[in-house]
């Protein structure tokens, strides 16, 4: 999300800068060095946990890093672009599976983000005006967000069990909608199961952000609109949704990145090997790396995933910021 720019810093003289003191020179050196000293621990750790691993990850993607070289990966032979060409050779099994997983992830992400946004926005708009029980409902809606992922997803896995789960009990035994109890965690249904869990877990975040955005809309806008004769739906369309645009811009991007990279939900729901219909990309890379012990290919896939996310984010930001400036003009 965005960090607001800080225009005013430095214009004001820093404390201690007024009047000459004997310690003036060391004072200035300290002042210049101070922000860097404050940042030093964070910089060192960022280097350690983000930058170095990223560089190594990129190097790994050019190596033939199979199980024989795990103990001493420096000794692994160079593979050039082999890992990449293997990953994107869509006629061969590895590339074909990756492409399939990519499409599954795209479909899943679009549906999940869309539904999360829709549920979150609808709930936030309905709860914009205060009513009895609003505070209580707000707390209830945050429960999926607060529950540890694995505890919540294990519960869903129980509900999706074929023979003793709630879902089949309701759909089959009580409503009679299906001829026989369905499998939810294997086969094509697994996509639906994954989507339901993901939306359940993800929509409260959209709700939170949209609610905060709604609080920033000046009341006068609604008053003016209602004086002009706008009904509730028109107020929603003319005032609420346009005012939410900057909030939505960030919200959708964050939801997209989280959903696209989600590992926890499919991993807890399905285990190490997800069914083909719900084979999300992060599980797929995990599988390619830790189950078959081919780290080189896994790394190449990770780098490709990162490039894809960078491109999408860049295009998205360019498009939305142009849209915003056009709207302002």
């Amino acid at each position: 999300m965005t960090v607001t720019a800080e225009p005013a810093v430095g214009k004001r003289a820093l404390p201690g800068a007024t009047g000459p003191t004997p310690r003036r020179r060391t004072g200035r050196v300290r002042r210049v060095a101070l922000p860097y000293l404050l940042l030093l621990p964070a910089l060192l750790l960022e280097l350690l946990v983000h930058l170095v691993p990223m560089v190594i990850g990129i190097v790994m993607s050019f190596k033939e890093l199979t199980q024989f070289y795990i103990r001493d990966w420096g000794a692994a032979p160079w593979a050039g672009f082999d890992n990449y060409s293997l990953s994107v050779d869509f006629d061969a099994p590895v590339g074909e599976a990756l492409l399939h997983s990519f499409f599954v992830t795209c479909a899943f992400t679009v549906l999940s983000v869309g539904l999360c946004w829709l549920l979150g926005t609808t709930a936030a708009v309905y709860m914009q005006e205060s009513f009895r029980g609003r505070g209580f409902l707000r707390a209830v809606f945050l429960v999926p967000y607060a529950l540890p992922v694995y505890a919540a997803v294990i519960t869903w896995a129980f509900m999706f069990q074929r023979d003793n789960g709630l879902v089949n009990h309701v759909l089959h035994d009580q409503l009679g909608l299906t001829d026989s109890p369905s499998f939810w965690l294997i086969g094509d249904n697994s996509f639906v199961a994954l989507l339901v869990v993901s939306v359940w877990k993800g929509w409260p975040f959209a709700f939170l952000i949209v609610m905060a955005g709604l609080q920033n809309i000046p009341r006068e806008l609604y008053e003016a609109a209602s004086i002009d004769g706008a009904g509730m739906l028109q107020q929603l369309r003319r005032v609420t949704l346009p005012s939410l645009r900057p909030v939505n811009q960030v919200l959708v991007l964050v939801l997209f990145l989280w959903t696209f990279n989600d590992f926890n939900t499919p991993y807890v729901l399905f285990g190490k090997a997800a069914p083909e219909a719900a084979d999300l990309i992060s599980i797929h890379i995990y599988q390619s790396s830790f189950v078959t012990w081919n780290f080189g290919t896994g790394s190449a896939m990770s780098v490709l995933l990162l490039l894809f996310l960078l491109v999408v984010t860049g295009v998205y930001l360019a498009l939305t910021s142009r849209g915003r400036s056009a709207a302002d003009a």
């Binding site: 999300m1 965005t2 960090v3 430095g10 404390p15 210049v32 101070l34 922000p35 860097y36 940042l39 621990p41 964070a42 750790l45 960022e46 983000h50 790994m60 795990i70 001493d72 709930a123 914009q128 005006e129 205060s130 505070g135 409902l137 707390a139 209830v140 809606f141 945050l142 429960v143 999926p144 529950l147 540890p148 992922v149 505890a151 294990i154 129980f158 509900m159 003793n164 709630l166 359940w200 409260p204 939170l208 952000i209 609610m211 905060a212 955005g213 609080q215 920033n216 009341r219 609604y222 209602s226 509730m232 909030v247 990145l257 990279n261 807890v268 780290f295 896994g298 990770s302 995933l305």
Partner: protein
């Protein structure tokens, strides 16, 4: 709470659609919670056969048995240590960094914030593979066992808690008026004195919120925990799956254990949600 949205009274149709929508949504949200709580109190035959909405009899047996079926207490302690240490480290480091960013102008400031923020978008799997290899190789070269150790896991958890903590604390520190710490410095405090005597006390709610959030994410993390732990350092995220590897899954125990591991974070979250929500949303709304 906010002022009423519209000066006009809401039409009845709106009230009804709101009632229906919010009821359905509440049902959807609470369904797993109901299943978790009710199943955790059911005798075993209730959870191994066809699903029952109401238990045939109530029992607290699952809450006793969870501790012996898998070493849940050990996992609990591991999670507590790892999440606690990761939280303390990231909050302390983030306090210094956020103070530097919010109070000083320096070369590379923008680069720093952009880098910190952009690491948030990277898939965890991108760091997992290299960190795994780094730990294995450090272990081979020096004998320091990072792989499988709690220290190694704490370090990896900083990959997501640190950027987030820095980013949220910058927002909180900027909301503390600059005049306050400048006045403290005029009165003879050094910059660090001003930070700890003025800025930190003024931003306590924000710091607590960041800590709770960091703890929550570490408590719920699955990916790194599943690769980077061994039998003695396993956290709840991995340990809970131990119930499912039994020949027969004791679902009542699984649900009881899920509830037990959820209670600390859900309670903390609901108690502090006001601060947390303010921090989470500040960046997006600005």
């Amino acid at each position: 709470m906010t002022a009423p949205r519209s000066p006009m009274a809401a039409p009845r149709s709106f009230l009804w659609s709101r009632r229906i929508f919010l009821t359905l949504l509440t049902g959807f949200v609470l369904l797993p919670v109901y299943v978790m709580v009710s199943s955790s109190l059911k005798p075993l035959q209730d959870v191994s056969g066809e699903f029952r909405w109401l238990p045939s009899g109530l029992t607290i047996r699952p809450y006793i048995d969870i501790w012996s079926t898998v070493p849940l207490a050990k996992y609990f302690v591991n999670s507590l240590i790892v999440a606690g240490a990761a939280t303390v480290c990231s909050v302390v480091i983030a306090i210094f960094a956020a103070y530097g960013v919010s109070r000083y102008r320096f070369h590379g400031k923008r680069l720093f914030t952009v880098t910190v923020l952009s690491t948030q978008m990277f898939p965890g799997i991108l760091f997992l593979l290299p960190l795994f290899l780094i730990y294995v190789n450090i272990g081979n070269a020096t004998g320091i066992a990072l792989f499988g150790s709690r220290a190694g896991l704490i370090l990896t958890y900083l990959t997501f808690s640190l950027p987030f903590s820095i980013w949220m604390l910058i927002g909180y520190f900027e909301s503390v008026p600059r005049d306050l710490d400048e006045a403290a410095m005029v009165d003879g405090c050094g910059p660090l004195g001003a930070l700890f005597r003025v800025v930190v006390p003024a931003a306590v709610p924000g710091i607590v919120a960041v800590a709770v959030y960091a703890f929550m994410t570490a408590w719920g993390e699955v990916l790194f925990a599943s690769v980077m732990t061994n039998d003695t350092t396993r956290t709840l995220a991995v340990g809970l799956q131990g119930y499912a590897t039994q020949n027969d899954v004791y679902w009542n125990q699984v649900m009881a254990a899920s509830l037990v591991v959820s209670v600390p974070v859900v309670a903390g979250f609901l108690l502090l949600q006001r601060y947390l929500v303010a921090g989470l949303t500040a960046g997006a709304v600005k």
